[in-house]
């Protein structure tokens, strides 16, 4: 399977201001199951807009998003539903992505039911147990009936990952999924993501401003600024020998312990 953005652009126009915002310009990107692709950039670089384009949450102004060569924009309802199942999202703010009035088992169970991944309460509960254990929330029974406010930030982020993998996705688009977490919790969530890559063969498009994390986990890196992809390549090549001055500036700015 291959997920591609081909020469994709997104321009936002507002009625009141005359200047359109070119959030993403001519971006081309490839992601595959089993691969950790990182898009790095600072605020305003267009990286989150690119994520939304990949997730079919926004329509591109120009260019196309394709899955195995098939353009998402021209898919029928059934195909689009399948697309949304195989390309899942995990976003930054776990508190904002979980309904505060739904227990963990309901939050994960409802997407399983909606996409017909399991039938009947017992089967759904079984599937919820499986995915919670996959993200390291063991024993699952201890977490199932909790509300989001009864979980820590790292646990909420794991619930979101569990909800995403409940649909057997091939690629997860994670937008700043670990940025707000403390180092120890961040390391835990990243370990879970790496583990899922190995065990389920899921791929990631990992959007972040956190370069040390990228260096740690990514296979392939895209660097974005002002809506454009400045350079991309295998992680080791980008970190060892960045060709663009902005990438060098980013690398130098990453804070590190002595």
């Amino acid at each position: 399977m291959l997920l591609e953005a081909i020469d994709v652009s997104k321009t936002f126009r507002s009625r009141r201001s005359s200047a359109p915002v070119h959030a993403v310009q001519n971006a081309t990107l490839q992601a595959r199951p089993g691969e950790f692709v990182a898009i790095v950039g600072e605020s305003g670089s267009g990286k989150s807009t690119l994520a939304r384009l990949l997730l079919d949450l926004l329509d591109p102004t120009e260019g196309s998003i394709r899955l195995d060569g098939r353009e998402v924009g021209s898919m029928d309802r059934t195909e689009r539903r399948a697309y949304r199942r195989s390309v899942q999202a995990v976003l930054q703010d776990p508190a904002g992505s979980l309904n505060p009035r739904k227990r963990v088992v309901q939050a994960i169970g409802e997407v399983i039911r909606l996409h017909g991944m399991a039938r009947g309460p017992a089967e759904i509960r079984q599937r919820v147990t499986e995915v919670l254990e996959l993200v390291g929330m063991e024993p699952a029974a201890a977490f199932m009936d909790r509300f989001p406010h009864e979980l820590s930030g790292g646990q909420r982020q794991r619930v979101l990952i569990a909800r995403a993998i409940a649909l057997d996705p091939r690629i997860i688009v994670a937008d700043e999924a670990v940025s707000a977490l403390d180092a120890s919790v961040k390391a835990g969530v990243l370990a879970v993501m790496a583990d899922l890559k190995d065990r389920l063969g899921v791929g990631y498009v990992f959007i972040t401003h956190d370069l040390p994390v990228v260096q740690k986990v990514a296979d392939h890196v895209y660097v974005m600024r002002h809506g454009r992809i400045l350079e991309h390549g295998p992680k080791d090549a980008i970190f060892a020998d960045p060709s663009h001055p902005y990438t060098r500036e980013l690398l130098a700015a990453a804070p590190a312990l002595p």
Partner: protein, 305 residues
């Protein structure tokens, strides 16, 4: 307490917390001991870091020093907060106003909640300049002197286009510029202590680096003490001489920053550093502090100096 005891004392540390406890309400009937028997000292000219994960109590400790805890009657503070020897636990609001006006300048993570969106930046800096004389509009003298001071503080805070920034509203500035405006407001008071709580956490790395450098230079130039509160050990490493490590409301370790980072003595500090380094070191596995260890740390109060 006699009056003499409550007067600023010569030779007393700038900030001295002794056995500080803070209990905060978390719901209708629940509360949390956010800060537990914390001892902490900041001397004149010192740069002190306070590090901890979210929920460790570091921000609550910082807010206690600035007298900015929630005003609910259910907030309970016990122990001692001395500012230049003056006991502040139970002090009237007016005394705290005085401390914030003269002694402690604060910089917080989110400048937009701190800045007034309807007031031009220049006026907000001007308002924190001490010893204000009534300024009559168009009355010349004083006004231009104040303006010059405002521009000077903005430039000192790393904003070379001070005139233009002063005439702007907060929303017209970038995140990095707003954070520099907060630095300008904090130093305009000519405080003895700049208290910065996660001052650069919301900023991009390249901007963070510039803002930290500005803060560093400004504090050095003015000879002000600095207390830097952060979850980010790398930020504290570069900016402070001495550091306190907090976990679950307690100080677990204190010492020279270089020593604590190179040879942490408390098991929690060791585990925390291991997890931070596991995110950057190529050859180590990702390390997250195990739950069992966390529970033990939270239950056994041990302090390593």
């Amino acid at each position: 307490m006699t009056i003499a005891e409550n007067q600023p004392a010569a030779g007393a540390p700038l900030i001295e917390l002794t056995g500080l406890n803070v209990v905060l309400p978390t719901g209708e009937r629940s509360e949390v001991e956010a800060v537990k028997s914390v001892d902490l000292v900041v001397h004149d000219g010192e740069r002190v870091g306070l590090v901890g994960e979210s929920g460790s109590g570091k921000s609550v400790t910082g807010r206690s020093i600035a007298g900015l805890l929630p005003t609910s009657p259910r907030v309970r503070v016990s122990g001692s907060i001395r500012i230049r020897g003056q006991e502040m636990v139970g002090a009237p609001a007016r005394t705290w106003d005085d401390v914030r006006r003269k002694t402690v300048g604060m910089i917080f993570q989110d400048p937009l909640t701190f800045l007034n969106p309807t007031m031009r930046v220049g006026r907000q800096v001007a308002e924190s300049i001490p010893d204000r004389r009534p300024v009559r509009s168009g009355a010349g003298g004083d006004r231009t002197a104040r303006d010059r001071a405002v521009f000077r503080f903005l430039r000192q805070a790393g904003l070379p286009d001070a005139e233009q920034v002063a005439a702007s509203f907060p929303h017209e500035l970038s995140g990095g510029m707003r954070q520099r405006v907060l630095i300008a407001i904090a130093i305009a008071k000519e405080p003895s202590l700049v208290l910065a709580d996660e001052p650069t956490t919301a900023l991009d790395a390249t901007v963070q680096q510039h803002v930290l450098r500005t803060l560093d230079e400004t504090v050095t130039e003015l000879g002000t003490s600095l207390m830097l509160i952060s979850h980010d050990l790398a930020v504290v490493a570069g900016m402070t001489d001495r550091v306190y490590v907090m976990y679950a409301g307690r100080i677990v370790e204190e010492g020279p920053t270089a020593r604590v980072l190179a040879e942490p003595r408390h098991e929690y500090t060791q585990a925390l550093l291991r997890s931070v380094r596991s995110l950057t070191d190529r050859d180590t596995d990702l390390y997250s502090i195990p739950l069992a260890l966390r529970q033990r740390f939270a239950e056994e109060p041990t302090h390593v100096a």
